[in-house]
């Protein structure tokens, strides 16, 4: 067996629980793992949310996340990066995204996990459809 891959991702039916990401990032070479879980809030922009439905362009999600991961590995001393994102329905209180970053030292893991989420939110082709009691809307820039 070679060492676990520096990057891996999963895009599929939700919700995500973070365990795949955490376990894949962990290892005896890494002093720490930072796990980020994004969960669906009961309210968004002042409206009651019933649930979300995510749509994705899976081929490009994987390609774009791989590019982001390569950038992060070049900027920080990291062990492994794992990303999981739900597509389809996700209920309030459930997680839609999990990011796990392991590193020898915690500053790099915290920085990379935060930067990954920043990049994911602006570059990775996934769209959030918010469903309310009286309608729904696609979320995006300016909506």
């Amino acid at each position: 067996m070679t060492e676990a891959a520096a990057f891996a991702c999963r895009v599929g039916a939700g919700p995500v629980d973070g365990e795949w990401a955490r376990a894949g990032a962990a290892g005896p070479d890494a002093g720490c793992v930072v796990l980020f879980l994004g969960t669906v809030r009961a309210r968004s922009r002042g409206k009651q949310v019933v649930r979300l439905e995510y749509q994705a362009y899976p081929r490009m999600v994987e390609a774009e996340l791989a590019r982001i991961a390569a950038e992060l590995h070049s900027r920080h001393e990291l062990a492994r990066i794992r990303v999981e994102h739900a597509v389809g329905p996700v209920e309030v209180g459930e997680a839609s995204v999990a990011v796990a970053v392991s590193a020898p030292h915690r500053a790099a893991a915290f920085a990379a996990a935060g930067e990954l989420m920043d990049e994911l939110k602006v570059r990775v082709p996934i769209w959030k459809h918010e469903l309310y009691p009286d309608g729904s809307t696609w979320i995006g820039l300016g909506s």
């Binding site: 994004g38 995510y54 749509q55 994705a56 362009y57 081929r59 490009m60 999600v61 390609a63 774009e64 994102h85 839609s96 995204v97 989420m117 994911l120 939110k121 602006v122 570059r123 990775v124 082709p125 996934i126 769209w127 959030k128 459809h129 696609w138 979320i139 995006g140 820039l141 300016g142 909506s143």
Partner: protein
């Protein structure tokens, strides 16, 4: 030449289709040409902001369109 164009989110709803076949008649077509042709075919697209990806990578408007490349029109993303 013709390209298959994938649509997502609000763009997909506006077009009423998950993909379009778009033709650009002149040679050496670029991304901007494909946008223009698609918006003639489906005028609702013109009311939306979107980026274009060629083979799963963001492309600028001046980029050439390789034959048979997979093209996608991507409205502002909102994952996370």
């Amino acid at each position: 030449m013709r390209w298959r164009v994938l649509l997502f989110a609000g763009l997909r709803d506006a077009a009423g289709a998950a993909e379009l076949e778009v033709e650009v008649r002149h040679a050496g077509a670029c991304v901007a040409d494909l946008r223009a042709a698609a918006e003639v075919l489906c005028p609702a697209l013109a009311r939306h902001t979107y980026r274009v990806a060629i083979e799963a990578r963001y492309a600028g408007d001046a980029e050439a369109l390789p034959a048979a490349a997979e093209i996608a029109f991507l409205p502002p993303v909102s994952g996370g």
